[in-house]
Symmetry: none
Amino acid sequence: MSPRPKNPPPDRRGEILEAAFRVFAEKGYRAATMAEIARAAGVTPAALYYYFPSKADLFRAAVTERRSQLQPALAALASPDARELPPREFLGALLRAMADFLADERTRAVIRILLAEGPRDPSLVAIFQEEVYGNIGAVLGYLEQHMAQGNVRPMDPRVFLLFFQGPLLAMVIFRDLLRLGPYRDLPNPALVEPLAETILAGLVPEKR
Amino acid sequence: MSPRPKNPPPDRRGEILEAAFRVFAEKGYRAATMAEIARAAGVTPAALYYYFPSKADLFRAAVTERRSQLQPALAALASPDARELPPREFLGALLRAMADFLADERTRAVIRILLAEGPRDPSLVAIFQEEVYGNIGAVLGYLEQHMAQGNVRPMDPRVFLLFFQGPLLAMVIFRDLLRLGPYRDLPNPALVEPLAETILAGLVPEKR
Amino acid sequence: MSPRPKNPPPDRRGEILEAAFRVFAEKGYRAATMAEIARAAGVTPAALYYYFPSKADLFRAAVTERRSQLQPALAALASPDARELPPREFLGALLRAMADFLADERTRAVIRILLAEGPRDPSLVAIFQEEVYGNIGAVLGYLEQHMAQGNVRPMDPRVFLLFFQGPLLAMVIFRDLLRLGPYRDLPNPALVEPLAETILAGLVPEKR
Amino acid sequence: MSPRPKNPPPDRRGEILEAAFRVFAEKGYRAATMAEIARAAGVTPAALYYYFPSKADLFRAAVTERRSQLQPALAALASPDARELPPREFLGALLRAMADFLADERTRAVIRILLAEGPRDPSLVAIFQEEVYGNIGAVLGYLEQHMAQGNVRPMDPRVFLLFFQGPLLAMVIFRDLLRLGPYRDLPNPALVEPLAETILAGLVPEKR
DNA sequence: CATGAATGAGAATTCATTCAT
DNA sequence: GATGAATGAATTCTCATTCAT
């Protein structure tokens, strides 16, 4: 009957968002129920509707909230200080940072949601696209500059991104999402170091 | 030709499986309803239960059926004749074949289902794992042989697979599943040819 | 568990429509619940959705069904044989028939629904308008003919309708719908006979 | 003028009552939500409960309040000065006044509520019954006197009321509530003048 | 084989109401 | 006086599933 816990809860909205994201990531949008999210947030289902008009809105808000939480990590990938480094070091550092970023539990949850719901919900993809491309754009700028100087083999930037994002993404998908047996105990560096070497061998021609 | 008197009895089971797979791939397991699958198959929902005991079973059967349909294409990836080629040619051919395989509409549907449902259903992943690894194993055998001969840089085979599956998978995910704007008009060869060159540059040392 | 009563129910749809109309008339659209309608029809709420896609559709169907049930009585009001009578007899007969029609339980239920929901739902009104006007049109035709012959004082037909429908409608509203104390025991003839006389006195000039 | 220091304290209660009546009249009791009423009144739903214990009480209070607003208009219908007139003039004046009263927007809203909720809520009807009958009683008194004098044909007063209220009520229902096409542009006098003539022709015998 | 009819168990959502502040 | 936050009890609607025929 009493609609209120005694001590004022500090940030119900945030707690709900957090709980909702967890449940959505674990179960997927359809299988996640408002009742379960409410339980996870320690409130009643009706409380969810006090803060968000619908399940779809809660989902969107939860995802957007998570995006902004990831924002600093994403921005760090394009940190200005790394851009002083020569291509080999820069790319190595970038690969390591990106591997850590992708393998982070919070990022993985986003990837899971994006892969599960994105194909049916382009607007969901759009939430991240802008953000990601804004930060990756800085990286591409660095590369284009060095391509122009002949330090890096000229290449379609999209292809370049696939080169080093692809293996990392595949690792996260196989190892962390699908939990394929053979990949289960593959540590990040086991992929990243050979990847850096191999890709760089192909990308940065005359240094070899 | 056949002495069968009536018009060929329709392969109801097969049609249902086909329709079910389409609907599951498009909507995801939870959002796909038995009614919609039935409609897609041209039967009533009750008929589904004549052939399959439950939605979960139908899903599993539909996925398994699709796996066996992809089987020939997968097997071709490990075709014995390509294994006569030297590493550069072999790897190039493999990359091209795999890119075509991954980008094929039927494969994409499987990937979509695996990415969406796999994280919550390890047994679903298992259905494909065996199959895929059986065929990829042949490829790995080839490589191990050449690594031993010094023709290919020695490397963890899992990492090797990530190297060349990763970018292809990423391309399919970005371009075909998430339909990211920038990737929408990236043709397979635009990725595959630079990928072959670059990776090979790193993988096959003395040729450079 | 058993989804089916043993002996096949003869006309579930009709029963549901009937029950729905009763409940809608008694409670109004909003206050009537699918659960109560189901109970009244002896089925489960889900069964309602087997026959009708939504509550709104069920409402509409129930009202339309009732309209067609009333159709014969309405048509009788414009029966051709009464049209052979001279104006005084014709109007008297019409008034009596209409009073009986309006005071009939089934008609009253329609009036109740129309008065309660009509102001917010013009399409509901439209369901009856056509029907009613079709039949009343015949009456008006008779009158116009006699107006032309000078047997009936010329008059706007809408006003004419208000003249003799109005008191009858008011009687039904006061007596049967609002159950105003003073009207509770006013029998139809107590209104109809003076009404016939009085109105006719004004309407059929030279006969007096 | 007034020595009150601050800006006049708003009549919250009155505003709420006003807003509540509007919303109830437009949507009906069930469909009207406390939230919407609060919004219309410019307060929060909780504030409603400061002034009224429940939705039902608010409804009742809003209706009663409106009744007292209509009171003067109702009383005017039985104004003493008109009672000096001879029957023909008196009845004509009464008809005109009543038509104006019924067609007034505020009265219409009351009628709408009474027709929609009255059948399920006798106590709602009672709120007005007393009021109305008190004032109409005066009119009936006038008539009874003239009936006794032979100036008006003797008649059950309830029937008399139906005679001239009925067409007016029907006009308001058809034209203003149900918005029936044919009645939409029927002005009050188009009904009232013929009605006066016709009814009087029947009611006031020797003048004809 | 196949279906029409039906259902039980949820699911999202609404809403009058409460109460500490 | 007034409100923000919250809730319990409906309510509409969905859907996998059943089974007599």
